[in-house]
């Protein structure tokens, strides 16, 4: 306020602008104010934070419902849902059955957008994007395939001269949804990975070195010849990395794109309809990129506060329709129609005091 009391003309101008801006914003939300806006709080995953914050902002403009989201990490989000300190949580990894059981009340998962994990590598002199089979990817991260000119890699890349260089696998050292998706893929395609390492947001890596965050991994890959690392598709796109094309379950080598990520979710739609927590890695869809995953909102099934419950439900409805249009701009893969429908059906299961929050259409 002291700033406003200043006599300098610039400050007076600033004050005028600020007041004008305030009036405009209030004017913008005025009609919604009449409909008694609800304030929601959420916490959790950092991976979808850019799109969530855009969604919450747009949704606030549209309806007046204000959402305060803190991207404290999936683990923190789950803790807060468990403690009941937030209205909804967000997690890149779905809760397994044991964690579901630990929740004081049943929780429903709503996937919001899809993401893919891509393999960036550093092989100077190699022009065409490298092709890799699932055995190669698993072999490299298990520490079994140690040279770039390994027979398994060469077989997938006929006509490409591969150097006799050592492979340095690079992984995310910080617990992350990206790691969760990547190791889910490795578990799906390699029995050995499933039994010896397994799936979590952090795992006990048999080989390689770790970098913190997407930038840590990509930094290591960029400066270490012979290295390979996994990063989010959005991050790779924004930084224009050369990424490996992977062989999917249908046998095709697919470039990671937003479309091939959406296809991955589409291929798993039937399974998702049964249990929305099913991993969408190694999807049977012929166009699917195999290392893809969903990020989730965690919503308590029976809402204590009906007004808040309705606000959450209508937000999810909006995110599934208009919200999906925003995904591509921020390099997230939109959900296919089939998965949107799964969410719309699951919305019907939300209740407050036993009464459904959303009417059947």
């Amino acid at each position: 306020m002291t700033m406003f009391r200043s006599k300098a003309p610039a400050a007076r101008l600033l004050r005028g602008v600020a007041m004008l801006a305030m009036t405009l914003t209030m004017g913008g939300t005025m009609p919604a104010c009449a409909a008694k806006p609800v304030n929601l709080t959420g916490a959790g995953a950092t991976f979808p934070y850019p799109i969530y914050s855009k969604w919450f902002d747009m949704y606030h403009q549209k309806t007046g419902t204000q959402v305060n989201y803190q991207s404290i990490g999936s683990g923190g989000g789950i803790q807060q849902v468990k403690a009941g300190t937030v209205d909804f949580g967000a997690s890149d990894a779905p809760l397994n059955d044991q964690r579901m059981g630990e929740m004081p009340k049943p929780v429903v998962h709503f996937p919001t957008v899809a993401g893919a994990v891509v393999l960036a590598y550093n092989l100077p002199g190699l022009k065409a994007p490298l092709r890799m089979t699932s055995d190669v990817v698993a072999g490299i991260y298990l520490g079994k395939i140690t040279k770039w000119n390994d027979k398994a890699i060469a077989a997938a890349n006929p006509g490409v001269t591969l150097p006799a260089q050592a492979i340095l696998p690079v992984y995310r050292s910080d617990g992350s949804g990206t790691t969760y998706i990547f190791v889910s893929y490795l578990s799906a395609v390699s029995k050995e990975w499933g039994t010896t390492v397994g799936v979590n947001t952090s795992v006990s890596w048999p080989a390689g070195i770790g970098g913190k965050g997407n930038e840590g991994v990509s930094g290591l890959v960029r400066q270490t010849p012979g290295s390979i690392g996994y990063v989010e598709l959005a991050y790779a796109k924004q930084n224009k990395f050369t990424v490996a094309h992977l062989q999917n379950a249908a046998g095709r080598f697919v470039e990671p794109t937003l479309a091939s990520t959406t296809a991955a979710a589409n291929g798993a739609a039937a399974e998702l309809a049964k249990d929305v927590r099913t991993p969408i890695v190694n999807s049977p869809d012929p166009d699917a990129y195999p290392i893809a995953g969903l990020t989730f909102l965690l919503v308590t099934k029976d809402q204590a506060n009906a007004a808040k419950g309705r606000a959450i439900a209508s937000f999810i409805e909006w995110a599934m329709t208009e919200g999906q249009e925003q995904a591509a701009d921020l390099d997230y893969a939109r959900l296919p129609e089939s998965v949107v429908n799964v969410n719309m059906t699951n919305l019907l299961s939300l209740t407050s005091a036993g009464k459904p929050l959303v009417a059947k259409r």
Binding site: S74, E102, G175, S204, K212
Partner: protein, 326 residues
């Protein structure tokens, strides 16, 4: 809150006394006592909260947490050994590099350099101490790592590779890089304290030794001997910083839970594993194990400080007359 309350009590008590001068003294004493008490309270609370948070992990895993080398969040098996080794090895490597460098430069600044040069160098040293650790991390990652990978480490492997400590693959990232970064970070502490301590040693010591026919080098030796407790104190403070440093180390150590056997191996420290895994630790036991790591780090710091104090006592033979005794 606490200082205010103690002000009130002190005021009420001194109201019984006839002379107002006492009241001021009492208030002053109460304030200072409260300030000292807050420090104590904070340390106690940290220990208490870590202990409470780690109870689940302690109950489930037991003492094997301390010597098990397996850290597997998938199977919920947690052992702190790789991180204890990582923390101790990087910190001692840092001390090994930083103490000779720091003490050497402190001796030069205190004994040989002109007053002006001393002031300039101290200013630069303080600047170095004020750089945020993330900047050191980025430098280590983008500048030091390539140098280590392409020149230093291949040379080490070629000439000393037969010693297990220098064997392995040149990644540029690992224990060696972390140790060097930590050394750079703790040098300012060692230099500035050692310099102050040397400057505070009585001039008569030097004059006496020179009068007895000592060379300049021998005379410096006498001053160093007098300053020993203070210099050791500087090393203890520096060690404390190295043990707890998080961000810079996380960026350059390579973050693996395999136990390092060579300086070139990647590793992880107790602080770095907490920084890496805390936000996405989804199961209660996982979270508890990470808090227990914090507790172990706390204990390791206490033990290290205790040992260092014993060292000071042993080196000085319990004398406390020297300048700047730690």
């Amino acid at each position: 809150m606490t200082p205010e309350r103690s002000v009130g009590t002190a005021g009420a008590m001194s109201g019984l006394r006839p002379r107002p001068a006492f009241r001021v003294d009492d208030v002053y004493r109460g304030l200072l006592m409260a300030a000292a008490g807050v420090v104590f309270l904070i340390v106690f609370l940290i220990a208490f909260e870590s202990f409470m948070g780690a109870r689940l992990s302690m109950k489930t895993i037991g003492w094997s947490f301390l010597w098990s080398g397996e850290w597997d969040p998938v199977a919920d098996h947690y052992g702190a050994l790789p991180y204890v080794i990582g923390t101790l090895s990087t910190s001692f490597l840092a001390l090994l590099l930083a103490v000779p460098l720091g003490v050497g430069s402190a001796v030069y600044l205190a004994e040989l350099a002109s007053r002006r040069l001393g002031a300039v160098v101290s200013f630069v040293m303080e600047l170095l101490a004020a750089i945020p650790s993330i900047v050191f991390g980025i430098w280590g990652f983008f500048v030091l790592a390539p140098v280590l990978r392409t020149t230093v480490e291949p040379w080490l492997i070629e000439h000393f590779g037969f010693i297990p400590l220098f064997s392995g693959a040149p990644f540029g990232i690992g224990i060696l890089n972390a140790g060097i970064i930590l050394a750079i970070m703790i040098v300012p502490t060692i230099v500035s304290i050692s310099r102050e301590v040397l400057l505070a040693t009585p001039k008569s010591l030097r004059e006496a030794s020179l009068a007895l026919g000592a060379t300049q080098a021998e005379s410096i030796g006498v001053a160093l001997d007098a300053a020993k407790p203070g210099i050791l104190g500087a090393a203890i403070l520096a060690l404390g910083r190295a043990l707890g440093e998080t961000m810079a180390v996380t960026m350059v150590i390579g973050n693996t839970n395999r136990i390092p056997t060579s300086l070139l191996d990647p590793g992880a420290t107790m602080a770095s594993v907490i920084a890496n895994e805390f936000t996405e630790a989804t199961s209660p036991i996982y979270l508890s194990a990470l808090i227990q790591i914090a507790l172990v780090l706390f204990l390791v710091t206490i033990v290290m400080n205790g040992l260092a104090r014993l060292l000071v006592y042993w080196v000085t033979g319990g004398r406390s007359d020297t300048a700047g005794a730690a």
